[in-house]
């Protein structure tokens, strides 16, 4: 038995922190995620070689000189991996940011004003959601020139319907609460009611949802780059490093070329998912404990 702490007077943040710590896998995930992020940010310092430069023999196996070997044209896999993590995290964060902002704005409008605006926006959301997500992304990637920034924009502009629905639902119920009605009676400006009263009260579910959007965007970036429609070489991304493994020699004889980026994607995505799961429990106001 751990010693009991007095939790009657703790603040909301303390409660959240305590609940988050209770989720053992999330604690480990957070450490792993922070370490990987730091490694990605410090890539120019850590990386032993220039990621785009040919520094050794073709497809050399891992050695002391090249920790994870070299790729088909003699670039250092470890250095490329660091830079690829950077690119993949960048895509995940920015795409999530764009789609969350779009979703929040549309959801606020639909939920608060209701009526015709709500109906049009929600039917539009239904339409976008009807197209299979990855198909829409692939079509957009086919129309626009593939590249890092177009991938970020495409993922950001396709991924908002879920957030919009979530925010709309929360706004609908918040609109009926007494503190919002009180603001209305007091004649507060609309901007204040929407952004200072309603939005802060729906931040927790948005944050939780955003973690899953980020995990999905990183998976989609990997899939797109794997298919050759995402981040273009020579820029390394975790997906396009796997692209080479479609050749049978790489798959059978050179596992150092495709196992590390694949495992890294899984580790990154699963740690984001665990962190999101712990946040869901920790931020839930009705969670008890």
């Amino acid at each position: 038995m751990t010693k009991k702490k007095d939790i009657t007077n703790e603040t909301y943040m303390q409660t959240v922190l305590r609940r988050f710590r209770a989720h053992r896998l999330a604690k480990i995930s957070l450490v792993v995620f922070v370490v990987l992020c730091a490694a990605a940010l410090l890539a120019p310092v850590i990386a032993p070689y220039d990621p785009d430069e040919i520094v050794g023999a073709f497809s050399a196996p891992p050695s002391r000189e090249f920790l994870l070997g070299t790729d088909q044209i003699g670039r250092d896999v470890f250095s490329r991996l660091l830079y690829a993590t950077r690119v993949s995290l960048l895509v995940g964060v920015l795409a999530t940011l764009i789609s969350t902002v779009i979703g929040v704005v549309l959801g606020l409008i639909a939920g608060y004003f209701g009526g015709v605006a709500d109906m049009i926006l929600m039917r539009f959301t239904d339409m976008v959601m009807s197209f299979p997500y990855i198909l829409l992304v692939l079509v957009a990637a086919a129309i626009f020139r593939p590249g890092l920034w177009s991938i970020i924009l495409i993922l950001g502009f396709v991924d908002w319907p879920g957030v919009a629905r979530l925010v709309r639902g929360n706004v609908l119920s918040l609109r009926e609460t007494n503190f919002v009605k009180g603001n209305l009676v007091a004649g507060m400006p609309l901007r204040h009611i929407l952004f200072s009263e309603i939005l802060p009260n729906t931040v927790a579910p948005i944050l939780v949802y955003a973690t899953s959007v980020m995990a999905l965007s990183m998976l989609d970036e990997a899939a797109l780059s794997f298919l050759g429609m995402g981040v273009q070489p020579p820029t390394a991304s975790l997906g396009n490093m796997l692209n080479g493994a479609q050749s049978i020699t790489v798959l059978t004889k050179q596992p150092w070329l495709w196992l590390p980026p694949g495992i890294l994607i899984v580790v990154l995505v699963i740690s984001i998912n665990f962190i999101g799961d712990a946040l869901r429990d920790a931020l839930d106001p009705s969670g008890g404990k």
């Binding site: 197209f131 299979p132 079509v139 899939a223 298919l227 699963i270």
Partner: protein, 315 residues
């Protein structure tokens, strides 16, 4: 009941019209079909004549209605690459995809439903933690990476399974041959779907287990088996129906990548080829088809809700 279904269908109609508008708009954005005509050998006048013949001189909305009229007659246009009608191309590739999707759906439900219910009933046990962790792993592993791992293990190392295709080359492929080719694609699709669904079903069942009617059922002393199998499962049908509804778009998307990796000769592989060739009539035909299927799937889900939960009709 009839009123509820009619209402659902009426809501779906504007969405369907919107889907065709988006589809058509993307196709226009992608470029004019005249582009493939242009070349040094073709005069300006000939291109213009072709534009008039194709109706491209008409305003946008007129063109849309002409296209919609063709669509209603089942004409989806012609492939830019091989000049085949898109409708026929889709029809000839649909079979293998439906087979793959159907089997994957069944397998994923057979995995997710028992695992989710087990996990909820034994909440916070070792088994529950294992199931939840595995389900996170399932939804975090990219399909193509899992596919590569499976090919490496079962084809390269063990030599048990073929790495791609639907039948062995040179044979007509009996039932067993197709089944062997299907094992890996089905695993990849089913694992990614089951990963998300296990947690969904688990939390839905957890919520049901806390309901008052279950406490009553327990208090009656009818025993754990009857409480769970008679009272809880009947109510767990709704989340299960939701899960099946949610899986339809995932299946369509997932099958593109899985078919590409395993060269499964279905709609996904055809779409991927069309995408690399920028064959827009084919791409948009597939988009339209899948959007309509998803819409109809949602409609059926809504109707099944009403069957599973009679109180929904009143709302």
């Amino acid at each position: 009941m009839t009123k509820y279904i009619l209402k659902r269908i009426l809501i779906a109609i504007p969405v369907l019209i919107g889907i065709t508008v988006i589809d058509y708009a993307i196709m226009c954005l992608a470029g004019s079909p005249l582009e493939m005509l242009q070349g040094p050998r073709i005069s300006e006048a000939a291109v213009e004549a072709k534009a008039i013949a194709l109706g491209l001189d008409q305003p946008f909305y007129v063109q849309y209605f002409v296209w919609l009229g063709q669509l209603l007659q089942g004409n989806l246009g012609y492939s830019i690459k091989n000049y085949q009608p898109v409708g026929e191309m889709i029809a000839s590739h649909l079979g293998p995809t439906l087979l793959l999707m159907g089997v994957s759906l069944v397998v994923s439900i057979l995995l997710a439903v028992p695992a989710g219910i087990y996990s909820a009933i034994h909440q916070y046990s070792k088994g529950d933690y294992t199931v939840v962790t595995l389900s996170f792993l399932g939804s975090s592993i990219p399909g193509f990476f899992l596919a590569m791992l499976l090919i490496y293990l079962f084809t390269v190392k063990l030599g048990w399974l073929p790495s791609g295709g639907m039948t062995t080359l040179g044979t007509n492929g009996g039932f067993l041959d197709v089944a062997v080719h299907m094992v890996m694609p089905v695993i990849v699709l089913a694992v990614s779907m089951a990963g998300t669904n296990i947690r969904y079903i688990r939390s839905a069942v957890l919520e049901i287990l806390q309901q008052d009617y279950l406490r009553t059922a327990r208090a009656k002393g009818i025993g754990r088996f009857l409480v769970i199998n008679k009272h809880a499962l009947r109510n767990a049908l709704i989340p299960i129906v939701t899960v099946i509804g949610m899986e339809i778009p995932v299946l369509f998307g997932g099958s593109i990548i899985v078919e590409e990796v395993f060269s499964w000769p279905g709609l996904g592989l055809m779409t991927m080829t069309a995408i690399t060739n920028r064959d827009y009539p084919v791409i948009m035909g597939v988009c339209l088809l899948s959007a309509v299927v998803v819409l109809v799937g949602n409609l059926i889900t809504d109707i099944l809700y009403a069957v599973a939960d009679p109180t929904i009709q009143l709302q």
